[in-house]
Structure formats: C-alpha cells, structure tokens
Symmetry: C2
Subunit: 172 residues, 2 copies
Amino acid sequence: MAEVVIYIAHSVDGFISDRSGGLDWLAPFEGYDFGYDRFVAGVDAVVMGSNTYRVVRSQGDWPYRGRSAIVMTKGAPIDGDGLAVFDDRTPAELVQDLIHAGRRRIWVVGGGGVIRAFIDARLVKRLILFQIPVLLGGGASLWPPGKRKTELKLLRATTHLNGVVETEHEIG
Amino acid sequence: MAEVVIYIAHSVDGFISDRSGGLDWLAPFEGYDFGYDRFVAGVDAVVMGSNTYRVVRSQGDWPYRGRSAIVMTKGAPIDGDGLAVFDDRTPAELVQDLIHAGRRRIWVVGGGGVIRAFIDARLVKRLILFQIPVLLGGGASLWPPGKRKTELKLLRATTHLNGVVETEHEIG
C-alpha cells in the first residue's frame, strides 16, 4: 500500500524557515541522530515546491539521488540538469502517477503551501513533525490557511535529549 | 519569585479558535483530566485580550473568581460588573503592577497577539501548550508574527491517552 508522508522540522511558533528564508536556525540541532537516514531510506519519491527546491539546491549536494524528485511549479523548469522533474499537475494527479510508476512512499518535503495542498486533497497518510524548542517570531509558515478541518490520530510522541519533540500522526 | 506563564490549547496547525471564532472543536477533549484544576489553583492573576474576554464571558460562569483579572484594551471598559479590570497599559507595566500588588503567578490566557506581546517583552517564564490532534485549517492563530527570536528549554513532554501532547518550555 503506497503512502504519502510529511516529515519536517518547525519552530514552536510554526515557522519552517527564518525571516531571511534560511535554515541557519536549525544549525544547533544538526549532528543529532533523529533517525533521518532510516526515514529517507524508505522513501522512493520526493515532492516539493519551487521555493523549497531552490533552498535545497543552495545547500550544495542534491540529497535525493536515486529517488524520483518532482518540483511543483506552474512556471518554466528552473534547472535542466535532470535532478528533478518540473511538473504543473495537481497533487492528486501527481500521486496517482507516482503510484502507477511503482513508487511506494512519497515524501512531500515542503513548503507549507504544498504540504497543505496535499493534506486538503486528502492524500497524506502520515505526518511526522519535529518541534524545535525556539520561537522564531517570523519566517515562512508551515501552516498557511487550508480548506478544511482534518482529524489526526497521534501514533507516538518522542522527546529527544536536545529538547526536540517528535510527533507522528496518522490521518484517517 | 513571581512568574508569568502561558497555558493554552492549540491545533497542530497552530489555531486556538475555529473559523467561527469558537471553541467547539475542543469539545471532544473536554472531561479529560489535563491537570487544569491544579494549574489554576496556583494562579493568582489572569491577563487576557478583549476578544478572549468576550469568548470567556459567552461561555457562562466567570471561571477566574478570587483572582485578579485584567483585560487589555485601549478602548472603553467592556463590562461594568467588576469581574475584570480593563486596562490600557503595556505588558511590562501590568506585570510590574501585579507583582507589586503581591501576585505570584500570572497567567496570560490569550489570545495570540497578547501572548506574543508578553513573550516579545521578555516577561514570560513558562510556556505550557496542549497540542490537540486536529488540523483546523483556519481560525485565530496562536502565533501571529512577533518581533524577535526566543530560545526555549524543553522541561517535559507529556503524551495524554486521547492524543493530546502537552509540552512545558522554560524561557531564558
């Protein structure tokens, strides 16, 4: 059974990048083993928005080699180096196509607008969040307004030694 | 040592009231013992904004009897029944005055704008949050943009049997 999963770090006040659009605020929490390697080993497709794609590319090495990578954009392709496919289809169309192509675990990387669109389209099965113990006060929000209410079922909450609270919710 | 504390329930996507401004979405979680009685027994002053005051008054019985209750408003007093004092001073002035009057534990009830103002003014010592397992998709945000970044220290995370994740953070 294929599934779509969200896996992302956010501040206690719900931001995923700081006011400058960057991820520097996460630096004090790097190097700690949150189980990312195990998570990403189980993922065979990644989907992201164009802003997230640009942030990932600016960080250096492309981290999603060996996986289908889709960048959702209505505009022209951002790069031509073949690391990602630029696609203007809807979340439902994308997921249907990825599953048809044999992908089993699809990670919607971000940002907030893309994540909300997949949740509102009832495509997401699992929500894994890392709450970082900081209030950023501004930046890109993980949770722009959505279209509907969605009930969640808490599967687990894990308290990491560095104060990060990881939660895993299932969506009905 | 007097302290200012935040204690509030919010959806996973950071809303504290639903699109209609109400608290009906919390109904499935009422009746469960989150330790509220013990918390409120230790509080001798409450501070809130005018919207929060109106929501509390609309719920029936005034729940803060025997405590100093301050409603922050720049406008005219909303009621004249003496349950609350209407005050146009800043967070720093209010806290100074409450402490001077012998109050030891001041609960900033809400809403989001008032909470952010107290945090940005570096007046808050403790942040107790109840994350309810639902995405509301819209409503009043717990976290409107603020003025600064604030580091937090996680003291504990408690997983309740109904899927609510309670966290307690200390500030500086």
